[in-house]
Structures are given as C-alpha cells and as structure tokens.
C-alpha cells in the first residue's frame, strides 16, 4: 500500500463510470503521460497511482476521497470532475489535512469563496474564467445584445451570471435568459424563447450530452441564420464536436486550452499524446498533465511530501503548460492563465476549434479568499 517512505502515492478521485467517465480517463491519461516522460519517477521517488471512482455522485466522491486519504495514504489527490463532488470533498480534505489537492477540473468559484483551503490548487480553471472574459470580446466583436441560455445547476447559473454582469459592464444589453434542466433532450421550447428574444447573439453554458443536443437543435431550428452562438468552451469541446458535426460550425467559445493550438509546447504534448492514445488530447488531458507537472514541481521544490510544505511551494508557482504557462494565484491558488476565444471551423477530419483571439493578463477575482 501507499504511504511508505520511498514511493509517492497519487490518488485519482475521478469518475470512471457514468456520463463523465471520458473526462476521468482523459485526466488520468494526461497525468500518466507526464509521469512517463519522467520515467515514472518524481524527485527520485517511485510514483504509485490509485484510482477511485466517484461516479460523479457526491456520496461516492466523499467515500472515495476518504478512502484515498485514509486507507491509501495518498500524498496528493487529483480530481474530481464535478463541482458538487469537489464541494462535498472539502470537509474531508480539511479534516484529514494529509495531502494536497490538485483540482483537475471542478470549476465552481465557491470552492475558493467558501473553502479557501490552502491545500486546494486548481490546475484547471474556474467558472468565472470561462465566462466573464468572453463578454467584452462578444460586445466588441459580435453583438450589442445577448440572450443567456444555461444548464440550470450551479455551474451553469454561475457562468451565465458572470457573463451577464460582465456584458452589461462592457455596455451591452442582456435581453433575456432561460435555464434548462440538466439532461434535457429536446430544446425546442427553449429555442423558441431564444429566437423570439430577437437577440443578436446567445451566450450558453451547456456540457456533455446537453451541449450536443443544444448545439445541433440550435442549428436544425434555423437559429444560426439570425443569431451568433457563443459560449464557454465546454459547449464546443473535443468530446462533443464529433456528435455536433456541421451544426457546430461558426460558433465561438472561450477556453484555456485548445488542442489545435500551434505553439511548440503544445505540438510536442499533442504529438506524444496522440502516439500513445491514438487521438488528440482534450482539455481534460491537459489538466491532468499539468496536475502531474505541479505535483512534480512541488515535490522537487519542497523535498518532502508534507502537505504544508507542498502547498507552500506551489502557492504562486508557475507551470509551463501546453496551454501556455500559468501560475497559481497567491491568494486563491486558482490558475492565472491566458484564455482563448475559438471558432469552430471545418478541419482536416471534421469540425475543429481554431483560436481567433487570445485574452491575456486577466485579473482574477479572489472572492474574499486570502491564503498567503
């Protein structure tokens, strides 16, 4: 079992079954790719990984967390995918105080606001980042007024609120909004509402199968003819684009990583990922990869696996990521990073995202958290 002196134990608390399992697997793939690059060792110590399935279910997530911390004595937790699971994990991570936590996907800002946990580092993004910065860009480049359509749960609600506020601040007008229950199959009633609003553009937050249904039906109902679709990057990501097909073309979204990005660092990463997995990396793989980088950097810098030392090393540290380098915000441990506006265009094998603009130097809110 883990926890012995000369091995490091990495605990993946991720969904491996259910609708999010692809995300879980991608994060693990990314993480392991970095380990392979390092010959399986970090700081001269062997690394053991243990996976526990969260099934994207809060209770399963809590149990998995506890098991990884208590039974497996993990030195670091990597995960989860869902913010609800992450929120539920906070208490346990804090109680145990035995490992740092590299949050490789869950983006809810309240993890910072309510948690403000020194062990918590986001190697991914927060929901403010994938929504607010897009607003001024849309106002300048696309439309003066927007309609907001979002999946009616915490993440969707946060995203549309951040975007809406930022859009109005930029001078635009929000003409209406509609919340759609998670797991909706037929969007036609909502599309009607969107169409009737007469807005020039729509900002949407949907993910997974909702994103597939929304985007394709948006196209089928002919809304493309009169309005421009924008959204957070999950609306049009690598895992949904194949199913969205032609319907995705011409739509804009904001994300911190784009696999087709031409930077050398990314090409290298993407190439070696494709060599092992036969597919392009997605944003989750990048987040996994960066989690591994962050962990390695912390271990090497701190020279021990004591969680307080590791946390101290990572706070404010800079990671050389395929997405472009980013650093952990000293007050919140959230990643300070470039955001990319992308447009879906016809690529060599099907529609793909192409970066049309890079938003740099974005100042992150801290929501009252002050770790340092």
């Amino acid at each position: 079992l883990g926890g012995s002196e000369d091995t490091l134990t990495v605990g993946f608390v991720l969904p491996f079954t259910g609708v999010y399992s692809l995300l879980g697997e991608s994060i693990v793939n990314g993480f392991e790719q970095y380990l392979d690059e390092q010959g399986g060792e970090i700081g001269g110590q062997e690394v053991e990984t243990i996976s526990r399935d969260t099934e994207a279910d809060t209770n399963a997530g809590v149990s998995a967390t506890r098991e990884l911390l208590v039974e497996s004595r993990s030195d670091v937790l990597v995960g989860p995918v869902s913010s609800a699971v992450a929120t539920a994990m906070m208490q346990t991570v804090e109680n145990e105080s035995s490992a740092i936590w590299l949050n490789a996907n869950a983006g809810d800002y309240r993890l910072v606001q309510d948690g403000c946990l020194p062990y918590h580092f986001r190697t991914s993004f927060n929901d403010w980042q994938t929504s607010a910065p897009l607003a001024p860009w849309v106002y300048e480049n696309v439309a003066d007024n927007v309609f907001l359509a979002y999946a009616d749960y915490a993440f969707g609600q946060n995203s549309k609120r951040f975007f809406g506020e930022a859009f109005e601040e930029a001078g635009g007008e929000v003409v209406g909004e509609v919340g759609v229950p998670l797991g909706t199959d037929d969007f036609s009633p909502y599309l009607g509402e969107i169409e009737n609003s007469g807005a020039e553009a729509v900002y949407s937050f949907f993910a997974g199968s909702d994103a597939v249904n929304y985007v394709t039906q948006f196209h089928e109902f002919g809304l493309d003819r009169t309005m421009t679709q924008t959204g957070s990057g999950f609306l049009l990501s690598e895992d949904t684009l194949p199913a969205q097909g032609q319907a995705a073309l011409g739509k804009f979204s904001l994300l911190h990583y784009t696999p087709t990005d031409q930077s050398e660092r990314n090409q290298e990463f993407a190439q070696s990922y494709a060599d092992t997995h036969d597919t392009r990396p997605n944003v989750y793989a990048c987040q996994g990869y960066d989690s591994a980088q962050a962990f390695a950097m912390a271990i090497e810098d701190a020279g021990s696996s004591d969680p307080d030392d590791l946390a101290g090393s990572l706070n404010g540290a800079e990671i050389d990521s395929p997405r472009g380098s980013f650093r952990f915000h000293p007050k919140t441990n959230d990643p300070v990073q470039n955001m990319y506006v992308r447009e879906v265009v016809e690529g060599s094998d099907g529609p793909e995202n192409r970066v049309v603009d890079t938003l740099e130097d974005i100042d992150l809110p801290t929501w009252g958290c002050s770790i340092d």
């Binding site: 491996f16 079954t17 996976s51 526990r52 399935d53 099934e55 279910d57 809060t58 209770n59 399963a60 809590v62 149990s63 998995a64 506890r66 098991e67 208590v70 039974e71 497996s72 913010s83 609800a84 929120t87 539920a88 906070m90 208490q91 346990t92 309510d114 749960y153 915490a154 998670l182």
Partner: protein, 367 residues
C-alpha cells in the same frame, strides 16, 4: 395482472418467506437468531479498534454498511414483512438526512436532539406519503410512493422552499448542504471515526431489536395478516388502512434515522439521497438479502455497499454487479437469508441443491 394486484399476498409462496423464517406463525428471529445477531455485533465492536489501528478506512466502509443495513431494515419492515411495496424510501432517508444537516447547522450538534428530529421528520414524510398511498395496492402503491419521493427530490433539487419563502437558500439546491460536522452528545465527541462507528452500531442494533420486537407484537402479527390477506383482515374487523399507514410511518422513522446518521458522516446532504435510484437500490438489497426476514436485507444492504465500494475501481464493475443480481435471482431466489438457512439446515446437500437448481434452470429455459 392478477398476481401483481396482490403481490403482497403471494410474497410468501413465491419468495418462500415461510421457509426462511419458518411458517409465518413463528417468531421473527429465533433465540438462536438473536444470539447470532449479538455475536455479529460483538465481533464488529471488537474488530473496530483493530481496524482503526491497521486499516482505518475499514471503519468508513463498515459505518456505511451499517447505515445501509439500517435503511434496508426499515424498508423490509414495510416491504417484506408488512407487504407494502414502497419504492419511495429514499424520500424518508433524504428527509432525515436534510433535517439532520439543517438542525446541526442552525441549532445544535447534539445527537440526542438531532437524531430524534431526523426520525420525526422521517415519520412525518412517511405519514404524508402514506396518507395518499395506502389505499392503492401492489404495484400502484409502489408507483405512488415513487411519485411522491420524486416530488420531494425535485423540491429539494430546485430548492423550492427557498423560492416559496423567498430566502436565499434552504436545501442548497443541486449542491446540497456541505461541511456538516459530526455529532457530540452526553459529553462524548463523535468526531472520532471509531466513536461514530460505535454510535452507529449501537443505534442499528437497537433499531433492529425494536423492529424485531414490533414484528412479534400483536401489531406486527396484524401487519402480517394484512400482507397475507388484506380483505379478510378488513372483514375480521381491522382498520387496515390505519395499520398500513402506521407501519409505513414507523418504517419512515427508521429510514429518517439512517439519513440522520449518514449525512454528518458524509459531511454532505445532497439531493441524490432522495433520488429514485436509491429506492431502487434498496429494493435490490432486500431481494438480494432475503425479504421479510429483517436480518437478511441488512446483510443484503451491507453486501451491496461493500461490492460497490470494492468493485468501483474496476471499469467493468457495473457488468459484475448486474450479473450478481441476475445470477442471484435465477439461482438463489430466496436471497442470502434463504441460502444461509438452507445451508444451515442441510449442509451436506448443498451441492445437490446447486445441481438441482441448474437442472431446473435448463429445463425451464427449454420449456
């Protein structure tokens, strides 16, 4: 159709409750059975500190197993024993859990206050659902309880109470309530995992003893009569609906207690607790454990949690779990309890029984 209309009436023949616990006229849980229950509890109590020392995580699994054993027990009391096919027990479980979360946050962490409150909320929710449902029979009762439970789920998920009362949040919506601390009571601080385990163990044991006692009481006997033949009981002079409502409420109380134990332990109350999949899983635990025996479903509950916990790492765990259900239902229809009893009664013929079961299967498939 006919058989589903009076599912309850032929539970016995089909499932062989008569064979698992002896004829229904007999005691639920013989003195031998009581002894066995005490021994199991004793072993768990001794094992706990050992686990704490070597594999502390075991305490987590065990506590979860105990909570679900309690939940399965509460369901079996109405479902297997009294013949009310509840497909909505998650509602009482979740309600008890949310009640505990709110009480701990807003009022006190004293278990002596919060746990009874959880039970009461469980009773109240069950009484509400039962009030509308007990007149329906069989599968229609099942569907009504399911419908009400799903309504509660939606209400919690959308945080409807907050909207109605116009406050910011009550149930916490889809995020639920998190960061719920553990109990203290009579000067004991249950934040130690070991002590929390003992708290759970004691309460599960007490609940079991109480429900066994109630099952053997005149009330319990009446419920059995209703399960066997509702119409006849009516014409003997029993107010059948009232009995059913009461049994359902009692069961709801224990389901609420299970919720009250679970939520602080997990530190979150989240809408998934009320989802129909929990109710469905509970029914599976019951069938797997051996309905109507009270102790069988507790084993079933513990086993399902254990399997989920241990298989969760495998990519194919759903396939494995599903196959277990399929194999059990075809080859061991009386569940764990039935199998254990037949092995105990006739240990030497176990192999013969297995062969016989296989032969029967092949014969039936051929038609």
């Amino acid at each position: 159709m006919k058989s589903v209309m009076n599912l309850a009436a032929d539970l016995k023949t089909a499932i062989g409750i008569g064979e698992t616990t002896g004829p229904i006229g007999e005691q639920v849980l013989s003195s031998q059975g009581r002894l066995a229950a005490l021994v199991v509890a004793g072993v768990l109590a001794v094992f706990a500190p050992v686990a704490q020392a070597f594999e502390p995580f075991w305490l987590n699994i065990l506590t979860r197993m105990l909570v679900f054993a309690l939940l399965a027990l509460s369901l079996d009391f109405v479902f297997g024993y009294a013949g009310l096919l509840s497909f909505g027990h998650a509602a009482m479980f979740g309600a008890g859990g949310y009640a505990a979360a709110l009480a701990i946050r807003e009022v006190t962490t004293n278990a002596l206050v919060v746990l009874p409150a959880s039970m009461l909320v469980g009773v109240a929710v069950a009484a509400f659902i039962g009030w509308f449902s007990v007149r329906a029979k069989g599968i229609y009762f099942a569907m009504l309880t399911l419908a009400f439970a799903q309504m509660f789920y939606v209400i919690v998920f959308t945080d409807l109470p907050a909207t109605v009362l116009d406050v910011e949040t009550i149930t916490g919506g889809d995020d639920g309530l998190f960061g719920i601390p553990l109990y203290e009571a009579i000067g004991i601080d249950f934040t130690s995992r070991l002590l929390y385990f003992y708290l759970t163990l004691v309460l599960v044991l007490v609940s079991f003893a109480v429900l066994v006692r109630v099952a053997n009481s005149p009330f319990g006997r009446t419920m059995q009569g209703i399960r066997e033949n509702e119409e006849r009981m009516q014409f003997i002079g029993y107010d059948v609906q009232r009995y059913k409502l009461l049994a359902f409420s009692i069961s709801g109380g224990f389901a609420g207690l299970a919720g009250g134990l679970y939520v602080p332990f997990q530190s979150v109350a989240q809408p998934g607790l009320l989802h129909w999949t929990i109710s469905g899983e509970l029914v599976v635990m019951l069938l797997l454990g051996g309905m109507g025996t009270l102790w069988g479903p507790m084993l079933g509950g513990a086993l399902v949690i254990y399997l989920e916990e241990r298989l969760a790492g495998f990519a194919t765990w759903e396939i494995i779990l599903g196959s277990v259900f399929v194999v059990v239902v075809i080859f061991a229809p009386r569940g764990l309890a039935g199998t254990l009893i037949s092995i105990k009664n006739d240990p030497r013929n176990t192999i013969t029984h297995v062969k016989q079961a296989l032969r029967n299967y092949v014969e039936k498939v051929r038609g």
